[in-house]
Symmetry: C2
Subunit: 462 residues, 2 copies
């Protein structure tokens, strides 16, 4: 640490964060931690296990795995040992490297979650950050459709509980499901398999440019005939209820083994999740979603909040055939999804679903009288042992000043004890929300139960 001895006064360094990076103050961090805790709990509930990997990887691990764009956005440098290294830009590439490296130890199937930061030197316009958090979960080493079912259930359970205001509120959202097998089956059936990338790229623009221009683009970039393009579009725009859409697709794909497998996968997901008690209307069969063109090979998920679909998908993922092909000959099929924490948070704030608080505890003890300091310390310790978090103000400032601090932070209850209260072994319990107050016994057991009841029911103002 800097020495203060015998040093000339230095010019102050401006305290600032890098462009595209940000600090999180308690008001922002407390709800983030709450959400992270809920997400973690859900992943764990299904037997997904935590792993962690280094922030820095050998450059060769990271390069060429993403798109040209992620390559360009990579934070890369030469370390002091002369190694070319980079900061991870997602959690999938490190997981692929990890799986190949530790395959013998982890076995198959393997279910992991990983909540961690990633870095991309993106253009910082439009609320994009260069450091953000991903919350991934994946099941690898199995092609079973029941891992698809489970992935759908985990997405449901996570997103259902992102409203941070209360313990019991549920968000309204839709999970769009698709299978790459359906369009791949359709392409196979009409003989366009070798031009799938161009076809799908055109299809991805459907919402933006409309059916006719998509057909034009398919004809141009994939040399498709009008009939071929229209037939793909018919599959991609199958509408109606989930059952009706799947029935229509099934008919269009008659004879295509792959395509019909995709239909069967989606049916299994819809049936099993309904049996498990998830409302049927939560899922929308939507052949128009075609995520991560080249990577996914089966089921695909995207998730939208009902009230702000324009936010984009807050939880996306899908099935892949081969996770770690760059690092091992062992084929590792799997399925996974990722919650976009930062995008989701932007949405929750817009919806008023983030309660602002700058404290982690409900109870505040002002240091009303310096001579009673050890009394306060002891009382606070007793309450903490009863599971009640307590903050004790460290200085005997004026009570009004201390209560102003308490109010600003958002404590709910204050326990005020002066010499008189101390002598009589009582506590003046203030409800900081209503302004009500009550003199209660300072005996820990009864005080703790009184605090619990005031926290849940409030105290009438006087």
């Amino acid at each position: 640490m800097a020495t203060s001895e015998n040093q000339p006064k230095k010019k102050l360094i401006e305290p600032r964060t890098l462009k595209g990076f940000r600090d999180f103050l308690p008001e922002a961090m407390i709800p983030r931690e709450r959400l992270i805790e809920r997400v973690t709990k859900t992943y764990r509930n299904y037997g997904f296990c935590p792993i962690d990997t280094p922030v820095l990887e050998y450059l060769e691990i990271l390069l060429g795995k993403g798109s040209d764009e992620t390559d360009k956005q990579l934070y890369r440098f030469k370390d002091s040992g002369g190694r070319e290294v980079g900061m991870r830009f997602d959690l999938t590439v490190p997981f692929a490297r990890f799986s190949a490296q530790h395959l013998a130890e982890i076995g198959q199937p393997f279910k992991r979650y990983h909540l961690a930061k990633v870095w991309r030197g993106e253009n910082t316009q439009a609320g994009r950050y260069r450091e953000f958090m991903q919350c991934d979960f994946d099941t690898i080493g199995t092609t079973s459709v029941f891992s698809d079912v489970e992935t759908a259930m985990v997405i449901n359970d996570v997103v259902e509980r992102v409203d941070l205001r209360t313990e019991d509120s549920f968000t309204k959202f839709k999970i769009h499901v698709n299978s790459r097998k359906i369009l791949n089956g359709a392409l196979e059936k009409i003989g366009l398999s070798d031009r799938s990338t161009a076809v799908l790229r055109a299809l991805d623009k459907l919402a933006k440019i409309g059916a006719d221009r998509v057909v034009e683009e398919m004809k141009e970039t994939a040399s498709a005939t009008e009939e071929q393009a229209r037939s793909i579009l018919a599959v991609a725009t199958a509408e109606g209820s989930n059952e009706a859409a799947l029935a229509r697709i099934e008919k269009l794909l008659e004879g295509s083994e792959l395509g019909l497998e995709g239909v069967a996968d989606l049916r299994q997901i819809l049936d099993s999740t309904a049996s498990a008690g998830i409302p049927k209307e939560r899922f929308v069969v939507d052949v128009s979603i075609a995520r991560g063109l080249d990577y996914y090979t089966g089921t695909i998920f995207e998730t939208f909040l009902d009230e702000i679909p324009q936010l984009g998908s807050i939880c996306s993922g899908g099935r892949y055939d081969n996770l770690a092909e760059l690092y091992t000959k062992q084929k590792l099929p799997g399925i996974g999804a990722s919650l976009g924490l930062d995008r989701l948070f932007a949405g929750l704030e817009e919806l008023g679903m983030v309660e602002k608080t700058a404290t982690t505890v409900d109870v505040f003890i002002p240091m009303f009288d310096a001579s009673l300091a050890t009394r306060y310390v002891t009382l606070a310790a007793g309450l903490r042992r009863k599971g009640i978090g307590v903050e004790l103000y460290p200085e005997a400032k004026k009570l009004g000043q201390q209560l102003k601090y308490a109010d600003k932070k958002g404590f709910k209850v204050a326990l005020v004890i002066g010499l008189d209260e101390s002598a009589r072994d009582v506590v003046n319990l203030k409800d900081l929300r209503s302004g009500g107050q009550l003199e209660v016994s300072a005996e820990i057991e009864s005080l703790a139960s009184k605090i619990h009841s005031v926290l849940s029911d409030g105290l009438d103002p006087q």
Copy 2:
């Protein structure tokens, strides 16, 4: 993601981590998460609030704050926008920058915790890692000794609960306390204040080289007289019970206001923590600890596990006068400490205090019969709603193979349901630890309560 279409076979990239970096597999990560959860809970219980800062900072923020050594160990580079940046090497420097930058918003006093990774390009011999985790908590904006008391209590509560085997085991440890005011007072009294760094540096070698050579070094490097050196040593080696040591120091420091303030601080910490119910023998007044020579100005803490003191201090900290002097003219006094998670973990493993498990849930449902898959999915969902985490095997492999998987991962209970059990609406509940089994009703309410009782009491083998 990499396309598999029309690409020539590429040479495999060796999956490896950088020297000094490591992956955490579930067996390592599950107990780490458990410890992090406990630490966080303790910090929060006292009203410390979470913050977060970017991994990357402007280089000027990081340089010159640490020692020459941390400067040398810094991961630094020029980003694609031409900015000189570095990865944080501790959480104190970012906190200092953060405090100066957001002072108006956070107010004073301000209590924060920050659990995050830091990076140092250290020599990787002797089990040192280049990426490790720090768990800091600090109270700034007050010089009150009751923040010192609270820091002592937090250290106690955290370290008390690091035994990860059970919910109720308590570790045996000692918190060594000192105050820099004591030695500074002694130096002041004998007129050596201007040579404190050299004197303290010599003193820090006491255990290694003995009293006589420390005296020699003080004479050489600080131009101290024999008497001055001996008088400092007398203070630094005051022994006996805490009370006896403090009484002796008090006598030696007679007339030094600063020194006596240090004695009073330590007495307040000992008294208040004892009143709050912390065993007196947990604290050791130890004037020989002189952490972070130039940075600390008051109370200092170091914490040692009784069974492996040679591990070194696992939780250290102290009081400082001015946190953010490089970034703001506003003086920010405070006190804080940091739990060294990686060092602690090495100790816990040595002591057998880390239970190995590769699963986050206790209950395993094998997919015994593929035709019953949705039945299993539904049962698992029902149990999860009752708060019981469940993993469902995704494929209908041979039962023996699935139970081997369950055994390797460490599940405690398996629920086996074949066609016969399903028809009769019962479950074969297996205790995977004892080998015992029992046929029970598949009705969720009663099954959940049966699982709870088997998990806590076990099931006799048959």
